[in-house]
Amino acid sequence: MKLGLVVDLDTCVGCHGCATACKQWNTSGTIGPLSDKDPYGRDPNGAWLNRIRTYEVDDSPNSKTVNMPMSCMHCDNAACVTVCPTGASYKREEDGIVLVDQDKCMGCNLCSWACPYGARELDPQQGTMKKCTLCVDRIYDEKLPEDERKPACVMTCPTKSRVFGDFDDPDSEVSQLVRERAGKQLMPELGYNPVNTYLPPRNKPVVETYDVSSVKNTVKKWVNKVIAR
């Protein structure tokens, strides 16, 4: 299995719902707590596993605004794992989820240096590395109803722009989406082979205009039609 997310850039409105759902679930989740420094003071700064960035593509007045949520891509070639000296970082063999064993991490930051996607953040209070767990503590939890066995961010996304599934299974929703919508990896040139895939904005739908050549300027006057009320 190769578990991961598809993120739809055509529909993400940048609401940050997934980011806070993630914070909420995971602060009491397996890698939690996710601490915050100066939460009510100047420059609050905490650990998040999912952040939303917004870009403008092309120049004014033709620009397009694109919201881009980013969490761990659970890369196939996860250098964040290979560089980790303690073995705290690892990629699970059974499903490809990249995790940090909180009991083993020494907080050297090296894995965050190795990650191109900014997916790892050091917990300011605990000194251990935090990252997206793909909600491993939800997706396998048999005590949860089946349709809740998915990541918190996926459940909450109000535009359903996040889809979770098995990329190894060609029939899974994620695989189909990647095929149909020409899903893209970010920064493929680095060779990390990220599992999470982004669906680019769709082309504009084409709407016909009412063909007015026939009526234009021919009918000068409105004529009453008999229409019963």
Partner: protein, 309 residues
Amino acid sequence: MHPAFSVLVFTVMSGAGYGLITLMVIAHMSGLAQLQDSSTLLSGGILAFLLISGGLLSSTLHLANPKNAWRSFSRFRTSWLSREAVFAVLFYPFLLLYLFGIYSQGTELNGFFQLMGTVAAILAMVTLFCTSMIYASLKTIRQWNSALTPMNYLALGLMSGSLLLAAVQGIVAGDLNGTLQNAALGLVVLGSVTKLIYLFWIGKPQGSTIQTATGFTQASVRLLDQGHTSNSFLNDEFGYTVEANKLLRLRGGMLLLAFVLPFILLMLNSAALTLIAALLAIGGLLVERWLFFAEARHVVRLYHGDQRT
């Protein structure tokens, strides 16, 4: 990259220490006359020990959770940091045995202690190489991800080591040995050349851009919002930005301190001035290391609005 002071101190000091011990062992073994003196050798050895140990201790300061530092030996198989840790520790018994040999037997070592010395020298270089590979292996930082990085680390370690060796020898013996002096001069030249090549190389635009980072390769891309208004771990760690002018000035100062001045001082043929040269070079290398970090631009910066790295 945010230059963490402890890491600068670590890499410069341990680099000098490893360079020093390596050169000393080579000179000792190859029978360089002025080094067949146990007080010189012991001084050099102890200095290397202190530099390396000080550096290693300093490196643990940047760990946010040092209680797990011992676990860093675990992933020798893939992690250059783990390898560095393993070799760094492995190095100690050989170094200590070698020094013990000198202490107990004087400069004429038997085969066993000679082997200890040789292995210590090799491990010193291997450790230094591992340190450099921690940086060189990161594809995320194009300024580091190159063979030039280990070359730099090794050359500069040897260079600073050679200056120290010459200084120690000169001070203990009272006058400077010409071979060591020449070796140091040569290594300063080598160090400066590798550094200049490095500086030239990182100046060339290459690597990932905001377009490849976002996947919008056909148009201009600008960051509108990074998703948080004050800083995050990522900004603090990778967002370090220095004004271009300041960088230029620091580069100039670094070249002067690390290479030009030591070279001149060395030429003056004085043990005391050689010591000053060594200290200046170490100071210069601290600046060099600071620049090595400050000029390194992690690809995450593309997501925070940089157009290219």
